[in-house]
Amino acid sequence: MKVAILMSVLFIAVLGSAVAVVYSKHESRKLFVQLQGLEREKDRMDIEWGRMQLEQSTWATHAKIEKIASTRLEMQIPGADSVVIIRP
C-alpha cells in the first residue's frame, strides 16, 4: 500500500518535471528569439548612431560653421573699438 502511494507520488513528480522541462525549453526558445531581435535592434541603433555621429561632425565642420556665420548670418568678431571690459 505504502509503496503504491510512493510510486504514484513519484509518477506525478516525474510527469510534473517533464512538463516543466518542456515549458522551460519553450520559454528559453522564446527568450532566445527575443534576444536575437533585441540584438538586431541594438545593431541597427549602433549603425544609426554611428551615422548620426558622422552626420553631426559633418554639419559641425568648423569651415562650414564659419562660412554660414559670416555669410548667411552676417556675424563677425567684434572689432577692437566695440569691446569694453567691465569689472565688477
Partner: protein, 570 residues
Amino acid sequence: MKKEQTIPVYNQRRLFLLLLFVVAIALLMWRALDLQVINRDFLKNQGEARYLRVVKIPAHRGMIMDRHGDALAISTPVESVWVNPVDLVGQPDVLPRLAKILNIKLDQLKQVLASRMNKEFVYLKRRVNPDIAKKVLDLQAEGVFTQREFRRYYPAGEVAAHVIGFTNIDDKGQEGVELAYNDWLRGSSGKKRVIKDRLGRIVGDVENIKASRSGRDLYLSIDRRIQYLAYRELKKAVKYHRARSGSAVLLDVNTGEILAVVNQPSYNPNNRRGLSSSRYRNRAVTDVFEPGSTMKPFTIATALESKKYTPSTIINTAPGRMKVGRNTIHDHSNYGKIDVTHVITKSSNVGASKISLSLDAEKIWGLFTRVGFGTATASGFPGESSGLLSHYSRWHDIERATLSYGYGLSVTPLQLAHAYSVIAANGISRPVSFIRQDSPVKGERAISAKVTRQLRKMMKTVVSAEGTGLKASVHGYQVAGKTGTIHKSTSGGYADDRYIAVFAGMAPASNPRLVLVVMINEPRGDDYYGGLVAAPVFSKVMSGALRLMDVPPDNLPVIQTKLNGRGGRS
C-alpha cells in the same frame, strides 16, 4: 478426430533459433555499449563539431574625444563579406548579382574564387556599409556570410591627423594617440558558442565563453576649435611663404595640457591611399631644429639668476661682431651699448654671447636641462625626439657662445613650448600632456619666480614697435615672446639661403595662460624672418585661442562699475 496426433518436436531448430536470437541481442548490446560508453566522447565531439560553433563577439574600440567631448575618432560598425568558395561556385546565377552589389568585376570575382577553391574562408570585401551587407544577405545565397567589424572614422580629418594617428585594418593603433593609448582604447573581443544550421545561420546560443568588453573612451587635452584655427592659419602661412613644412604647439600654462598641435604637410586619415609615411609624422614632436634666438630668454634667465646681471646692466655690443676663437659672431647691425633687456628686444647675438661667456657653464646647462632641453617631454607620444643638448663638460668657448643664441643644440617645437611655459608659469615646470587633466597638475620649480617676471617684462618689449616681433601682437592683450630666424645647418656648415622662422610667446603677459610656438621651415618667399613669417600666425592663433578659452583681456581700458548684488538686473 484423431486425438493422437504427433507433433513433431524440432528441438534442434528451436535451440538454433534461440541461440541466434541470443547472439543478435548480444551483438546489439555490444554495439550499444560501444556507442554509448566506449566511444561516447568521441562521437559526442564529432556530433557537436557539426553544429556547434564558437563565434567571435567583436568589441567596440573606444572613442577619442577632445576636451569638450567632441568626437575626434569614432568606430562605426561595418560588415565584411566572406564566402565559402566551394559552396558558391555551385550557384552560377548568384555570382553576377553578388559582383554587382559589391562593385567588383565579375571576372575578378570568378578568378578569386577559382584560386581559393581549397579554402573555406575568403574575404570578398572588407568593411562595406551595413546596407550593402544587407543586400548581400538578401540574395539568400549559400556560402555567403557577413562578419561584423568596425571601421575607424576621423571627423576632424587632416586637422588633427597627426595627434590622433590611425589604426590598421585589424583595428590596432599604428600612429599617434591611437598607438600610444592602444591598450586603453582597445576592447577585448568575446567568444560564444552557438548552434548553426546547415546554411551557417545561428539558431541557438549555447553559452558565453567570454564576454566582450568595449574599449574605453579617451578625452584628449586638444580643443577641436583651437586646433582647427591653428591648422587653418598655419596652412595658410606655409602655403603663402611656400615653406617646406611647419608646426605649431599651443599649451595651457596652468596644467601643461596641449591644446593644439598642428603640422604641415598633413594628410586625410580617412583615406590614406598612396601617401608616403613622411606625412604621418607629428613634426611638432618628432622633428628637431636649432631653436636660434628663441633660446636667448633662457640664457638671460641664467644671467639674472646668477645675480651678476639685472635687466638694466649695460653690455657693449659694438661693433656688432665678436671673435670667439676662430669664429666670428655677427649681429644684424651694430647696436652699440645696450642693456640686457635690449639684448632680447633687438635679439643681439653678441650681447647674448658676452653674457654667456661670463657665466658658469654648469649653471647654463643646469637651467637648460631644468626647463626640459635634451630630454623628451612627458607626453608619451610615439616617436618623440628628445632633442640634443651636449654636456657642459664638452663645451668650449665657442659652444658656450653659440648655445646662448640657440645654435649647437636641437629641440622639438613641443620642447620649446614646454620651456616657454616654464617662464609663463612663474618658473614652475609642469609635465606636458595630450590627455585632459581634470585635477591640478603638480610641477617643480625650474626658475625663480622673480626672474621669470623680469623675463616676461623683457620679452614684452619684443612685441613692440622697437622689437623684432611687433606682428605677434594681439589686440587687447599684452604679449611676451621671442622671435627666431635660424640658418639651417646642412652638411658642411650653415646654409645662407635656407631658414627656419620661429616665434615663441605667451599671453596675456601680465598673467600668462597660453603659450604658443610657431615654427615654419624653409620659407621660400621674400620674407624669412621669424618676426615676419611666424609672428603673424602667432597673432592670429593666439587671439582666437584667448577668445575661445575665455581669457580676460589685460590691455584694454576698463570701466569700473558697481553692480547691484541684490537681485538687481543689469
